[in-house]
Symmetry: C2
Subunit: 226 residues, 2 copies
DNA sequence: CTATTATTCAAGTGATTAGTTGAATACTAA
DNA sequence: TTAGTATTCAACTAATCACTTGAATAATAG
């Protein structure tokens, strides 16, 4: 203790938080947990890594105090240990986006819809949908979609996307959205669509932001699905 | 690019920021830079690591987009590349303090003055100083001290502290303060004093907070020092 | 020019990390 | 109890990291 210095020890503790957030897989796990509580297997599928690996990452996150877990029956559910973790995620993302040129490039060129959609009002997006020029897909799970979605959007959870790929018209622009800027589902969707040669992009915000902006919302009659 | 997935690449970029903030020395450097622009040598002395090592850390920080540099004559001055970096530092610290028990322990038991001082109004601290029960030391550089300091505080920059250790009365409580909660100078001071068996602690806030709280401020006649 | 100073580069070492694999530990259902 | 499932642990490899050392760039002064 005296050999290293209290100040040094203190910074080492702070560094543990940074270390926990220094791995792409762990960050992705955190982003998923920012959406909802998940068990290990779900996370492992979402992140596309083995269960054992996921488990180890989760334990590193827990040691850094970023996530907490609760056991229910066979499964262990993990969640963020506080809202300040979301804040941290969000600021780290902001700093990265602002300062790392490559990130901006990735976002601008590959995933978001900035140049083509942001300049035109969202209302116009809606009219284009009606004209069949743009297809909006909602990649959230069905029950979230049912509770409210952008008018004209088609519900297309990630696992169903593969089956539907052939149905898309390669001339129509496809815009994917999910739960918000922290939600990573739309990234996957856009990537899959692009690989098929389709014109896909990602709406910068998710459904909550859309709703808050006072734009129209459509609900599914609960009898239709499930 | 397609082998790894755009989303994966994106998270790897975000992770670079976390990686930059995953090392105790780098964090300390960032905290110093949050106070003021510094050149490599200054930082190396402040952090207590070799110049070459400091330089390498600084380059990692720059690659992550957290610091920027400007060359003036022989020296290269580094500074934070934006206020969002301060925000990031501050939130990482907050998360660590909230979630990591060991950090709380370190802070509570070793460095801050919480239990003994926070409950009593700062005005009372001042009266105790007048009675000689408490000695307040200001560990900032002399020119900052001169521009304004807590009444009764003695200016005691870190490098002068060693020479003055013998002058302290072991019965008197010593309270150190510096530039703010992000300033790390007082940590060093408290540690040195404690090693001498003195009753030292750290004021949670620094001088700016004191001033903002509307408490009295003393200025040095510029002829006295320098 | 040469000498000096501040910083960076390059190479090397020991420690740590991400990931894999396979076994071990819980918990549940029958 | 036994069988099956979800999670974690333990051991291992390749890659990366922190730090040191000594040399290589620059910029400046004499």
């Amino acid at each position: 203790m005296s050999s290293k210095g209290v100040k040094q020890l203190l910074f080492e503790q702070f560094a543990r938080v940074g270390k926990a957030m220094s791995n792409a897989n762990r960050l992705e796990i955190l982003e998923f947990l920012a959406q909802s509580e998940c068990n290990v297997e779900e996370l492992s599928k979402l992140a596309g890594i083995t269960v054992a690996n996921t488990s180890q990452h989760l334990q590193q996150l827990r040691q850094a105090g970023l996530v907490s877990s609760r056991k229910q029956g066979l499964k262990v559910y993990y969640s963020l240990s506080g809202d300040d973790v979301i804040e941290l995620l969000s600021i780290q993302r902001k700093v990265a986006e602002r300062h790392i040129a490559e990130v901006d490039q990735l976002i601008d060129n590959f995933l978001t819809v900035k140049d083509s959609l942001e300049p035109l009002p969202r209302e116009e997006l809606l009219s284009r949908v009606k004209q069949g020029l743009v297809t909006i897909i909602d990649v959230r799970p069905a029950f979230e979609y049912d509770a409210g979605h952008v008018p004209g959007a088609i519900n297309m959870p990630l696992d169903k996307l593969d089956d539907q790929l052939a149905d898309f018209d390669s001339d129509t622009e496809i815009v994917a959205y999910c739960r918000g800027p922290h939600c990573v589902l739309a990234y996957d969707a856009v990537e899959k669509l692009r690989k098929q040669g389709l014109k896909a992009s990602r709406l910068e915000d998710g459904f909550p932001e859309w709703k808050i902006a006072g734009l129209p919302v459509e609900k599914t009659n609960s009898k239709l699905n499930s």
